[in-house]
């Protein structure tokens, strides 16, 4: 393994940890709003780390471009869908969790 491999391995594993945290939040948080919060935040960062980790291995800049495009698409879609779900939940009168 060359240094690049170590770098991408570290990035990928860190990314996976973020995904794990996001998933835990999705499963354990008390209501839809907090779950969305955990999911979108943690997963976006996790995916970003993975994209960078893979970009290190990429053979050409066009591959890097495609990876970044995927990240951007997931970001924008995730954010919009999270917003739609949250506003839908609000409209339907789902109360926010209070500790």
């Amino acid at each position: 393994m060359n240094p690049n491999d170590y770098l991408s391995a570290a990035l990928l594993i860190t990314g996976a940890v973020f995904f794990l945290a996001g998933t835990l939040g999705l499963l354990r948080f008390p209501d839809v709003y907090t779950r969305l919060h955990a999911l979108t935040k943690a997963d976006n960062v996790g995916l970003g780390l993975m994209v960078v980790g893979l970009a290190v291995q990429a053979e050409s800049w066009s591959v890097v471009g495609k990876l970044l495009l995927i990240w951007w698409l997931v970001l924008i879609a995730g954010a919009s869908v999270a917003h739609l779900i949250a506003s839908g939940a609000l409209q339907r009168g789902i109360r926010m969790w209070k500790p």
Binding site: V32, L73, I76, S80, H83, L84, S87
Partner: protein, 321 residues
């Protein structure tokens, strides 16, 4: 096969079975559909593990994506009132228990499946199928991606009939239902912006998939599905095409795929003597023409299936009343 990949494959296989079971058994239909979409995405992962990236793309776009959208839309129309009150549609009133002796099918199916498993394992562990024939003729097929070569050339006749199946489904849906064409206000600025932002990108991606399909994973079906997804997004955002376009123009776009296919079939029959026999030098160009037409038709048909009814019929009914 290393231990790690074996563990991964087993986990993936078990998750697939578990998701399928949950999707079929959980009492809440909304949940069942969400689980089904998750199942489709994991299926796409399984296709990648099986070195079938073309199928993975098709599954993710059509199997999970558009089928999921169709199911969700149907559920929303099935329970229009409940769906507004709560995310959770009430559980089905009678989930199962049609059969008072459920163990009978369960045991029969278990036995049959055991037999099937035995048969599958009895197959030789090494078999090339038709891969040598495909590889030998790939050069003159007009596409270097073997899946595209099979779909558009070697078994192009199946694909011709399959595109007609898609058109037929739309004919069936239209004969049953009319569509609501009233322009709906977008349910919010976010969805509206998203649709505006993503539609050009979707079209770009579809064109890319179409172009790249000749030599890499991709092709007409995947591209058509992406185009269809763009249509679904636009429809969700409240966009409706002008009613003037609903009569002949829409129908022309819907049939361009099958029509071009039939025309090419007729021309090749006249010139080469065999249906869909392309001259090797023009095969690449012909495949691209067929795929482009098919992409447009598939995309528009999938979006029209999501709309779920004949837009023209509705228009005419309104004129009557």
């Amino acid at each position: 096969m290393t231990l790690l990949t074996w563990i991964f494959d087993s986990l993936l296989g078990l998750s697939l079975l578990w998701l399928a079971w949950r999707a079929l058994a959980c009492p809440n239909l909304f949940k069942a559909i969400v689980l089904f979409v998750a199942f489709g995405l994991l299926m796409a992962l399984a296709w990648v593990r099986l070195a079938a990236p073309d199928v993975a793309l098709a599954e993710a776009a059509i199997g999970a994506g558009l089928t999921g959208a169709l199911l969700m839309a149907a559920l929303a129309k099935l329970h229009p009132t409940e769906a507004h009150n709560d995310f959770a549609v009430p559980p089905e009133k009678n989930v199962t228990k049609v059969w008072s002796w459920q163990w009978l099918p369960a045991i029969t199916i278990l036995l049959v499946t055991t037999g099937l498993g035995y048969v599958v394992l009895s197959l030789p562990p090494y078999a090339t199928g038709l891969s040598t024939e495909v590889a030998a003729n790939l050069e003159i097929s007009g596409a270097s991606n073997p899946v595209t070569a099979v779909l558009l050339n070697f078994r192009g006749y199946d694909t011709l009939l399959e595109i007609v199946v898609l058109l037929l489904a739309l004919l069936g849906v239209w004969s049953l239902n009319s569509a609501d064409l009233d322009h709906k206000a977008a349910p919010g600025i976010v969805l509206d912006t998203l649709a505006r932002l993503l539609t050009p990108i979707f079209i770009l991606v579809a064109a890319y998939l179409l172009w790249v399909g000749a030599h890499a994973p991709g092709g007409a079906f995947q591209a058509g599905a992406v185009l269809g997804a763009a249509g679904v997004l636009l429809l969700l955002a409240g966009w409706r095409p002008r009613t003037g376009l609903m009569a002949l123009p829409l129908r022309l776009v819907l049939v361009i795929g099958p029509a071009i296919f039939v025309i090419v079939a007729m021309l090749t029959l006249l010139i080469a003597g065999q249906m869909l026999e392309y001259p090797p030098t023009q095969a690449g160009a012909l495949i691209l023409i067929l795929e482009t037409a098919a992409t447009v038709s598939i995309g528009v048909t999938l979006a029209a299936l999501f709309l779920g009814g004949d837009p023209r019929k509705n228009n005419r009914n309104k004129n009557h009343t």
